[in-house]
Symmetry: D2
Subunit: 337 residues, 4 copies
């Protein structure tokens, strides 16, 4: 292995391009050696500014070049299963952007493949665990000074959605982060999900019901409510309030300069997830690289990917039925305990 | 009628005593002329500091004295129906501490009695409508600049509960205020209620499940979630977050001096409802007195009392069953439209 | 004395009119019996809505009517000395809007006249002492938990000034409140004052230099800096930050609903002093009335009026010279210790 | 030049050690190739964890090794002049921790030496310019939407000071950052300085007068007051409030989780400068490295070092005399315009 871990970024869309820039200019101990995209032009343009990086059309070509020490997977989720299995065959450290795969069954196949390797190789891109506030909230909860955690109130608000953002994507692309956060904060699995559809915003596009309220429960009975509101206009907000036995904790408030002008006092709302979670992405990728150099995983693993895939699947069914849907998981393999 | 409205306070317990003090030292245009309590000693002690006030054992004796222009009813809720009917017979302006009565059926009898008088005489003691923040939130919502209201997230937290505070009282004594707030803020009736019981705090007394989450829906589909947590230890908090089509509004934060000391920055939590709503009580009683002098009602009326009684009844059933319970109201009489 | 203290309000301008309305509708134990104004029309119009109140052209006429138990003086400051001496001759309780008089010498004559009566009769209208936050800050400082007070940083900002608001009025009308606050919070006299004139806002009217920085020092060496900025455009703000040996305390932040909309998070700035100090005025007048009924003074007294007059005089000289000006007071008479 | 800029860190004390760790694990495009310290043991121990780095006793030895592309100077300030002149002779990019040198005269000699090179080589370690909030405040001020800047209120509070921290160090080590911030925010030179000593905290060590108030003025008349309080106990705070013609802007508030517990609501105070400015240091060093690779300076330059040295010199005199001391600078050479 070279001094700098040589990373192949698979998928050069918005997220992939961000990660290429990140590894190039902010991550220590790694460099981008390969960019893979079926759109050859997109791959070429992505490597243009990165000295020593080559463009490829398929992961196989990149692996064959002998220049890949680790893989960052940033393609659409429905392509993940094949790419993961292929990278596992190479026994490479993998950072897989969420979701692991779009459904529990395919995620389980990935789990089985990883088990054959006998060690964890896959880290899943749930970057909120690397956000300073979520990390502190996690410590406050597990620290125990405020007693047991009883409830979580989660808010996930976007100013708007790209064209074609469906009801299912509300769960699979947005609420999926809350599934991971809830599992991270409680240290427990989610056992049921229910979705309430009430009055919808007139700013939601045709066919999308927005906002929605998602109700979760964990194994020990922690109650969670999530407001998912993806056409909230005012800006971007991801915030959580935790109710513990002897205290309440809030994270997610905006900060920065506070201005008094024109009859108003306050600050700017975070405009988007890049501003809100930019530092968390940096820390996530650095943690992955640092762990990969030690042959380990530095964040949420394939089991986390599988469990959240099961939550998403149940969430989409709950959304359609209005009923409370139970979530049942396979037994957790030894490898992830 | 004399220059100062002569008020009979019926019930000289904690709430009654507060109101006696309030009318005596802070309310303009009224004075306490009579205090009624079956506990003669308590009534006598209540009038000791109030020049010109007499103690009585029953409302009838007070009315017979010819010194009563208005009645403030502060006895336990199960005694309200008889007292209200008796006061209506005297055609007196009444401020009835919440609840109007403990169930929808008895509330409806009060509604029928008031209708016979042909004018509204009863104001119900939902003081939150007189809190400056709730009033401003109401104006922001009805003003329409932020679009339609879509969701309300309500928090109702007490440091602890007196002995004998049951699960039913969680709904009837605490959540009842949220029922009124929701109706006030939305201008709509509540159509269903569901109660989720999850993990309970070890600080809750035997037989009480605390916290609980109460889910409501209004006629137009506004979704409401209420955290009712009555052994929250840290202090008192009543807060609401409203999600509108193009903005989010929060009320209920504590204020006052902000101190940086010993590694912490922040302020004091409101210790109890007297500190949080003391001003609202003053404004409520002043509004009642001012309206009573004009022969009107100056706040929530008997219909509001009836509707919230129906919510409470459904809420208690929802708490027991875990199911969503529909709330159905009689047709609203002309008098309250 | 009647049940309700009969108050003569002298001066029916903006401040006088406010107090008339206040005593009429919010103050318990007092009623307006007389309104005195040399503008007979203004006096008549002021009493129009107040049953039982009479209009007069001079205080003497009002006193002669035998209907005056107490005097509230709301004329311009240069008229105060005569009116105070006349009311003291009647031995009436007096609430004198600030300033006591416009200069230390005339204030001292009032002090001498009051001493002859042998009891305090004059309360001066420094209403900030009745503001909840200033009161709490005073308690935090005197409580001693945070050690000794070392510095005070005061901000006094108005959106704009009425026509003809001079540099001297910056000191005499605005900073005068800070003089009182500093004396109230430290429990000490102010020993020197210096004024710094820097870059001026283009929003200041011709002839007025705005903002200015006023530097004070107390007997024990507490350092105070005041930003006085009367054309600050954005709204009204009166805030103080106290530095103590082991903590920092801030008061004066706006509160109320917090809104997230259009990329901004925050609340409304207080528009003016009525909104900021409305409650303080109510409490001040109520405290005066309650004390007056006991034959006492219920707030800052004539000595406070004299001491602040001396501060103002020195402040105006400091403003002109740019030099540090010492403040020397006569010995404090027994009556005020 | 190699791919990674090879940095010699001169001085391996606390600050030097921090920078070694920073360049090693967080800075892209640079690596530590040499550590220089007269304490040979300290130098050796500093390179122990850094593969490829060598320990030296003098800069000359390090330069002779042919492994140095850039110099980071982290020795005490009185050693800076010689080290700077020696590094300039090598024509190397230099990051000089503040101060440039301890007085204006020696700083001017450095300026003259750099001018002979004909290009800027020295960046001075005023890291606040790289703090996100100061950067935003700078943009708000220069953006002009709120009109001209009129006043700055600066707070600089430390929990305590190391042994031997003198009155002069209050100015030279702490207020020096405010001198730079004021010059950065106003884009102007500071023309005078005055120091007020009032009541001192009993927590200040023998011989140190703490807190102090430093009053500054810029060329256009912006007035600045600085509270420097280095034994403030409660924690660390660096905050600035800017008064502009039509708005007020505050930076420096703590954030992170807000907790309601035990009757208090709030968050943790920043404990020290590492937590407050850790990110700023990273950005500063990265900016220096990125610029150095282009042959440029990426932050405050030698002129900024000279001008602040002149401020410090005047500040110490002002502290001793209590008088306002004018600050006069040599004409600014072409190289820095
Ligand atoms: Mg890199
Ligand atoms: Mg009264
Ligand atoms: Mg009155
Ligand atoms: Mg490096």
């Amino acid at each position: 292995m070279t001094d700098n871990l040589r990373v192949a970024v698979v998928g050069a869309g918005r997220m992939g391009a961000d990660h290429i820039e990140r590894i190039h200019s902010r991550i220590v101990g790694a460099r981008v050696s390969a960019v893979v995209d079926i759109d050859a032009e997109r791959a070429r343009s992505a490597v243009a500014q990165i000295p020593g990086a080559q463009a490829y059309s398929t992961p196989a070509e990149a692996y064959a070049s002998g220049t890949v020490d680790a893989v960052l997977l940033a393609t659409p989720g429905f392509l993940h299963e094949d790419a993961l299995l292929e990278a596992l065959e190479q026994d490479l450290p993998i950072l897989c952007e969420k979701p692991l795969t779009p459904d529990a069954e395919s995620s389980w196949r990935v789990i089985e493949a990883e088990q054959k390797l006998g060690r964890q190789r896959i880290q899943v891109g749930f970057m909120r665990r690397f956000d300073a506030d979520y990390a502190k909230l996690g410590k406050i909860i597990s620290g125990g000074d405020l007693g047991e955690l009883l409830m979580l109130h989660c808010r996930h608000r976007n100013p708007g959605t790209p064209e074609g953002f469906t009801n299912e994507m509300l769960i699979n692309d947005s609420v999926v982060h809350e599934f991971d956060v809830v599992r991270f904060l409680t240290g427990e699995e989610i056992t049921s999900v229910q979705v309430r559809l009430g009055k919808a915003s007139r700013n939601a596009p045709e066919g999308q019901h927005d906002p929605q309220q998602v109700l979760l429960e964990t194994a020990s009975g922690v109650l969670i409510d999530v407001e998912i509101f993806v056409n909230a206009q005012f800006g971007y907000e991801v915030a959580t309030q935790a109710s513990l036995e002897s205290g309440i904790v809030d994270i997610g408030a905006d900060h920065g300069p506070v201005t008094r002008t024109a009859g108003r006092v306050g600050g700017d709302v975070t405009p988007g997830f890049e501003e809100r979670f930019g530092d968390a992405y940096d820390r996530e990728i650095q943690s992955w690289i640092d762990a990969a150099r030690r042959g380990e995983v530095g964040g949420p693993n394939a089991w986390d990917g599988y469990a959240t895939a099961a939550c998403c699947e149940a969430g989409v069914r709950a959304q359609a039925s209005g009923e409370k849907v139970a979530i049942e998981l396979n037994e957790k393999p030894e490898l992830y305990r």
